[in-house]
Amino acid sequence: MMNILLCCAAGMSTSLLVTKMEAAAKAEGFEAKIWAVSASEVNQHLDQADVLLVGPQVRYLLPQLKKKGAEKGIPVDAINPVHYGRCNGEEVLKFARSLIGS
């Protein structure tokens, strides 16, 4: 069971990606809890996550979020803009798994 947290400005457009990633995870038989929050809510959710993926449009928050992630030992990175735009759940899921190394 892997916990994947996504974050963008309002958590709206990342939630679009969540449904695609869930579908991809289901197709692969991979168990994962995937959810999206707004940038202001990340603090409250970070503890429950194994990995944090950041929408490319808020990648300016990356240094700050990476620091927070490092404190808790949680990998943090930005989502590839093309995968993001095309809502490519498969690729983003793969990326999340590669960050954790599972």
């Binding site: 929408g55 449009q57 990648r59 803009p81 093309v82 735009g85």
Partner: protein, 438 residues
Amino acid sequence: MGKFNQMLEEKVMPVAARIAGQKHLQALRDGIILTMPLIIIGSIFLILGFLPIDGYPEFMARTFGDQWSTKLLYPVSASFDIMALIAGFGIAYRLAEHYKVDALNAGAISVAAFILATPYFTMFTPEGAKEAIQVTGVLPMAYLGSKGLFVAMIIAILSTEIYRFIIQKNIVIKMPDGVPPSVSRSFVALFPAFLVILVVWLLRLLIENTSFETLHNVVGQLLQEPLSALGGSLIGALIAVFLVQLLWSTGLHGASIVGGVMGPIWLAQTDANRVALQAGQELPNVVTQQFFDIFIYLGGSGATISFALMMLFMAKSQQSKQLGRLAIGPGIFNINEPITFGAPIVMNPLLIIPFILTPLVLVITTYIGMSTGFAPRTAGVAVPWTTPPIIGGYLATGGNIRGALMQVINLVVAFAIYYPFFRMWDKQNLKQEQSTGN
């Protein structure tokens, strides 16, 4: 493009990161969000109180009695009218969280400090009397709402900075020997809050001796009014929208970055219209939060809903059609990342042109429409930015069909600007597909 790209990454990104990551601006943004659910709930009652339908007030009065409007608007006072109080708490809470000191305490202290900066009387002119008399034992409701928003913001930051400074400096009061340690600790815990109250109290005493009389007047005249005049002007709106679009063109969330600075100003502008509506006066402001959210960003930043419709119904290439199908659903709710990153518009000179141009033109059309009275101004109703076009325009103007009409006009204008660029883009896609044999 490579060099341009690199320049943006190296120059624009750090600036955007600094603005968006600046702890006080972040606390302001995240703290003010706390008021939003309340204001949206209050908006439902506000709309019902002022539906611009012939015979509606008479019908309501017949059904619920003469006092119907007053009673219906009770929740408006408990949401809109305490906006500053809630925001002040939220801002202090978020800032304290950032400093890793007790956030709940910081929030409570900030509320106390804000009340301390507010006069405990109001002026009232009794019927038939010529001069206003001072009524004591009250808190003027206006100062707890948007009129006091900037005071609440300043006090929240000031009080939390003092609070965390004292705690982090670990300033300790030496108690005489023989005082049990836990007793001395309980005194020490009071010290940061005491200092906050002391500072704001002295500030109030000081200002009461000047012609300003209250901190609310100081901040109102020196800060809130000039900033509102600037942010509420046509030029201000154009600059803000240009920056939003420029940032989005590089793939950064422009609305979030620019809104982090301009949000409080536009919120105060929005609410001034609501106050005027309730007082039966003409709505003073054209440029409000809903001016942008509802009338300019149709389908998301860049007014891309027209572009999504073209992809869906007029595209020749498979790629464009596919993206149209993906983009239209979120687009209806003003979410357009599939287009900005999927088309992409980001770093794509061809599509950046209409992406920047369209919202700028819509600012002008909407501004003209609302200042000439052709379209109604936004009525202070906090319509969530995810409300679909046409419904949004109707609700934001307090249930006025001409608000929806203004949006339709803007949709047509956006369509006209995007169309030639869409054709070129679609042709490129088609050529690419044919050459790769797809």
